[in-house]
Assembly symmetry: C2
Homo-oligomer: 298 residues x 2
């Protein structure tokens, strides 16, 4: 039986390349105009090899775009106070425009306390309470990068959101909750599902836009998807498997993100874009992309 | 035809009286233990008679409970900077434990900037970005008072929330959005509806728990309600009319809040309760009610 894929793929690799190219152009312009290159500080606590790889990847992308990076590595044995202190120094340092604390921190470190030491103006990874609330209310601030990347993908493929049913499966502070708030800010009717949701397939079948953000391999099956839906798979599980059973889902969806090559590449692209935006704001320069959104509350 | 009301009423007046009695007892205990009575600062900008009445009512309730109040009245012609300055002084004043800025401020005043001048530890009305995000993530902080009051009502009537469908109609920063986050934190599957939602009745009919928080008189009809649902009417429109058509809804619901006498009285009760809690924390005393919640993110 031949595989009849009907969905169009949402190409995150291509879109991320565009966003990165713009970030690189903006970086050049900013550096020429001010004599200062944007600078992203990365903070890595402990020696998890996966986390080290992610940080390295982000630094490499920065270098390619002309963004400087500054790295702070702390041993796994460090106290919360020491990490807070290090992040606080970066927040106060005028040469640093953006701060990324690689998640997850070792269990003994209070990650929330560390995040809150990031000045919201430098929170280019969108992890502070301030950023989350600003995102929720449509105020100026930085989106969590993966949710921000998902919105970029939806916009690039001209997905209509206003008045449509969006279902978000997952409710983590850096993915499920913020992406739901961003969709709500764009006038979608938003449902949050999670591990305690009863009859999940019945709810996902109502979704015009379905976001899987739960981190459970192939949890969502093709039969759970409304024909013609837009499917965003933000899961990234071992073996390059998403949260959606791709083959069966692609036969029902109109648009779908592949894993890898869908949401994943957008995360770093948004991180770099927001770093340039942060530098632009801190250096007092006006670029077109610096406008804040506004939201309906009715 | 006789009116056959099947729903039990959720008596907010009675529950609020209990919460206020506890707040008064805690205030007495705290005052005896520390020599300091809790103090709520109220800030009123402009001369809207409705707002003045609300503030007066809050002050009277404080006085009855033994909570001191301090009032700051500013003319409608004041600048945002002047209000921010006044609120900043209250934030810095160790004699003030809670701050309430009466909503709405005159249009020329940037209400968000004023709210952000409130120290989150004194944000007993739950209006800062910090409070909203903390509420969303189940961290220690103060709930917006009406959402907090709604949760109190649901708990008092032992409404099961985990795994149940909750629908919130409305998405304002101080009502719809936070109440949805509190319900999500209690493991309900939460849907946000609003003015752009298509086929609202179809969605409200899926709700085990329906929260009307939209400010449109009798928008939600009895036929829109799932038989046996719990209906929370947070609307308060001219003529003592809620957002729900009460008579027809009461014939379908299992539990329903009346208007007035349902959600309304809970708002002030939670405000006072949170003022006492804020004072307790700031004075370094441990009371049983000061525990923070924790949330699932899966």
């Amino acid at each position: 039986m031949p595989l009849t894929t009907t969905a169009r793929l949402m190409d995150g690799t291509a879109l991320a390349a565009e966003v990165l190219a713009t970030a690189a152009r903006d970086t050049t312009a900013l550096t020429e105009q001010t004599g200062v290159a944007p600078c992203l500080a990365t903070v890595l606590v402990g020696d998890d090899p996966g986390s080290a790889t992610y940080v390295k990847m982000k630094q490499n992308r920065c270098a390619k775009a002309g963004i400087r990076s500054r790295h702070v590595a702390l041993p796994a044995t460090v106290s919360t106070a020491e990490v807070v202190d290090a992040v606080g120094r970066l927040s106060a340092d005028p040469e640093v425009h953006g701060i990324l604390v690689q998640h997850p921190a070792p269990p003994a470190v209070d990650e929330r306390a560390v995040f809150e030491a990031i000045d919201p103006r430098k929170d280019v990874d969108g992890v502070t309470l301030h950023s989350y609330a600003a995102m929720s209310f449509g105020l100026e601030g930085f989106a969590s990068c993966t949710p921000g990347g998902i919105m970029r993908l939806l916009d690039a493929y001209e997905v209509e959101l206003a008045g449509r049913q969006a279902v978000v499966v997952g409710r983590s502070p850096i993915l499920g909750k913020p992406v739901g708030m961003l969709l709500l800010g764009r006038d979608a009717t938003v449902t949050y599902c999670h591990s305690r949701t009863r009859d999940l397939p019945e709810i996902t079948r109502t979704a015009d836009v379905l976001v899987a953000a739960v981190g459970r391999p192939e949890l969502l099956r093709g039969g759970w998807i409304k024909p013609g839906a837009v499917v965003i798979d933000a899961g990234y599980n071992p073996g390059n498997v998403g949260d959606v059973e791709f083959d069966s889902a692609a036969r029902r969806a109109s648009l779908i993100t592949p894993v890898p090559g869908g949401v994943g590449p957008m995360t770093i692209a948004v991180l770099l874009e927001q770093t340039v935006l942060a530098a632009t704001r801190q250096l007092g320069v006006a670029l077109a992309s610096a406008a804040a959104g506004s939201q309906s509350t009715d």
